[in-house]
């Protein structure tokens, strides 16, 4: 390395590639980087902030010119940003914000707002007072916390949430947990799942017992879920446009590297696919 021209390397630290959402985000970023002639270095923290901290260190070692950080956890990312800043590498936060430290720019769509959007849609479809189920993500994960918060903002006091159970963002568990909940609640009208994987598992479980009228709303708008919405098996899913987030992040980074100014907050609009 040394003192030659700033490298054309951009670091992208992803929280987890075990989730198709972030796989799509990564692919959006990769496509954009290729188009602009930059090299993208991607790391995968498998949702472990400690691992991510190490990966940020590794990216600093590699002297990337800018880091796109998709934090596993907004609070835990603070020290990573501080470290990168100290090494004179700017950070752009992607999809999740960073609490307690300043980043160059924040590119995301808001999980809490998405939760509200899903909750309002569900309320509109099943009517006030109906019994509904919430399938939660991995306990303690930030998407679980934020989407749950938004959902409850929208429906508390208006819908009767008879069961809130965790299915770990997993289709397989979504299926089993839904199956079990059905045993005790045959009269539910709707389901909100914190992601599409669990929503699709729930759809399978509901279809298996013939409860095809139950409204299922997911989150993420993965290909599978969009197809299910088209086929009428799911009612809606909140689209965060991961590919767009990824490509906008790279775009913003390149603008900054070329000396343009970038705004501190770039919202990516949410959309309800129904």
């Amino acid at each position: 390395g040394g003192t030659s021209a700033p490298s054309k390397k951009i670091g992208l630290a992803i929280s987890t590639l075990n989730n198709p959402f972030f796989v799509t985000l990564k692919e959006g970023a990769e496509a954009k980087a290729k188009e602009l002639g930059y090299e993208l270095v991607v790391t995968d923290a498998q949702d472990d902030p400690a691992k991510q901290a190490g990966q940020i260190d590794d990216l600093i070692q590699k002297k990337v010119s800018i880091i796109l950080l998709n934090p596993c956890n907004s609070d835990a990312a603070k020290t990573m940003v501080e470290k990168a800043t100290k090494a004179k590498i700017p950070v752009i936060s992607v999809d999740r914000g960073v609490n307690g430290a300043t980043v160059l720019s924040h590119i995301a769509s808001d999980n809490v707002a998405g939760g509200v959007m899903a909750g309002e849609e569900l309320l509109a479809l099943v009517g006030e007072g109906a019994k509904v189920v919430e399938l939660q993500g991995i306990p303690g994960a930030s998407a679980t916390v934020d989407r749950g918060t938004g959902f409850h903002q929208a429906v508390d006091g208006k819908l009767n949430v008879v069961a809130s159970q965790s299915a770990d963002f997993n289709r397989d568990k979504g299926f089993t947990v839904m199956q079990n909940i059905i045993q005790a609640n045959k009269d539910i009208k709707g389901v909100f799942a914190h992601n599409d994987e669990m929503a699709l598992g729930a759809v399978q479980a509901l279809e298996a017992v013939g409860m095809k009228t139950v409204v299922v709303i997911g989150f993420d708008a993965t290909d599978d879920a969009v197809a299910a919405v088209k086929a009428g098996r799911m009612k809606a899913t909140v689209a965060q446009k991961p590919a767009l987030i990824g490509s906008m992040a790279v775009d913003t980074a390149v603008k900054y590297l070329k000396g343009e100014t970038v705004s501190a907050k770039i919202p990516v609009p949410l959309e309800l696919v129904k």
Binding site: L17, N18, P20, V23, Q136, P139, V162, A163, S164, Q165, S166, N170, R171, D172, F175, T176, V177, Q179, N180, I181, Q183, A184, E197, L200, G201, Q204, A208, T222, D223, D224, A227
Partner: protein, 310 residues
């Protein structure tokens, strides 16, 4: 005949745990003791049950197999791909199950013929197979598997209300219990788990026996993957994560010793049902997911305490 006389009392204690748990849930939830819920449990237990059946062979032989969850994911991805490419369901299933057994056997070859520790070898393959699944699926579910009869039936079908998956589990259980108790092969597994050196000096093919149990474990992981893939109508790259722990827990709850040579297939099935019923009950009782883990851990600890024998 006489032998059963000796084995039943040893299973007694874990059976008591199961019955106590069932009784408790019947009292706490009116939804627990219904035909539909029991079939539901049978259906849910089938996955962990099948993996645990294979794991029982491995543990009896004195080994451990952490790769089952990844073998499950990889076989699931394979069967899904085969189905999508238009190959008939029976052929796809057979190929996937054979490949799954071979993946398992890879563990066995390294453990047995290179004499390495099972924990670390199967952990390395757990990582490798998971990576292979990601590469193979590009990190995305494989969906749109079509409606070919046999494949759909395996995970979603029923016969007079009993899920196919449950029937597969029961057949597997009876067949393997028979193999372990009544065949030379089964006794050989116990022998190498009990004292590998004595087994070698008694002329048993220790290396081949040891390698074979991992193939069996892979076989059952692949079988479970077919049911799971059918049930979700899609293959998931993350499928089966953490299944190894659930399967080991089922085996150990059933009274089988992790040091090998001691245990029974009956116990494993009881263990798998304890875990399955526990998960079902926690959902039925709507225990908050934060507290679920505390309860689950405590019940497992209680069950092994009940099962304790000198």
């Amino acid at each position: 005949m006489k032998q059963f006389h000796f084995t039943i009392p040893q299973q007694y204690s874990s059976l008591i745990g199961l019955l106590l748990l069932g009784l408790l849930l019947s009292i706490l939830s009116p939804h627990f003791l219904t035909i539909s819920n029991l079939m539901n449990i049978l259906n849910q237990v089938s996955l962990n049950g099948l993996v645990a059946v294979g794991m029982t062979f491995v543990i009896l032989s004195g080994g451990i197999d952490l790769s089952v969850g990844s073998v499950l994911a990889l076989s699931g991805a394979l069967v899904a791909t085969l189905l999508k490419s238009g190959i008939s369901d029976v052929v796809s299933i057979v190929i996937a199950v054979i490949l799954g057994s071979l993946f398992g056997l890879l563990n066995g070859v390294f453990i047995s013929f290179f004499n390495l520790q099972p924990f670390i070898v199967s952990m390395a393959f757990m990582t490798m197979f998971r990576g292979a699944t990601f590469v193979f699926t590009q990190g995305r579910p494989i969906t749109g598997l079509g409606d070919s009869g046999m494949f759909v039936a395996v995970g979603r079908g029923e016969i007079v209300g009993v899920p196919w998956s449950g029937i597969i589990l029961l057949i597997s259980f009876i067949a393997t219990a028979f193999i372990l108790n009544k065949t030379v092969y089964g006794k050989g597994i116990y022998a190498i788990g009990g004292n590998a050196e004595a087994a070698r000096l008694s002329g048993l093919p220790v290396k081949r026996l040891r390698a074979s149990v991992y193939a069996i474990s892979g076989f059952f992981a692949a079988l479970a993957s077919i049911i799971l893939t059918s049930r979700l109508d899609s293959a998931q790259p993350l499928a089966g994560q953490g299944y190894e722990l659930d399967a080991i827990a089922a085996v150990v709850l059933g009274g089988t010793s992790l040091s090998g040579g001691r245990g029974y297939m009956v116990g494993t099935i009881i263990g798998a049902f304890i875990i399955g019923i526990l998960n079902n009950g926690l959902n039925l009782l709507e225990v908050s997911s934060f507290y679920q883990q505390i309860v689950k851990g405590a019940v497992i600890l209680l069950a092994v305490l009940l099962d304790r024998r000198k």
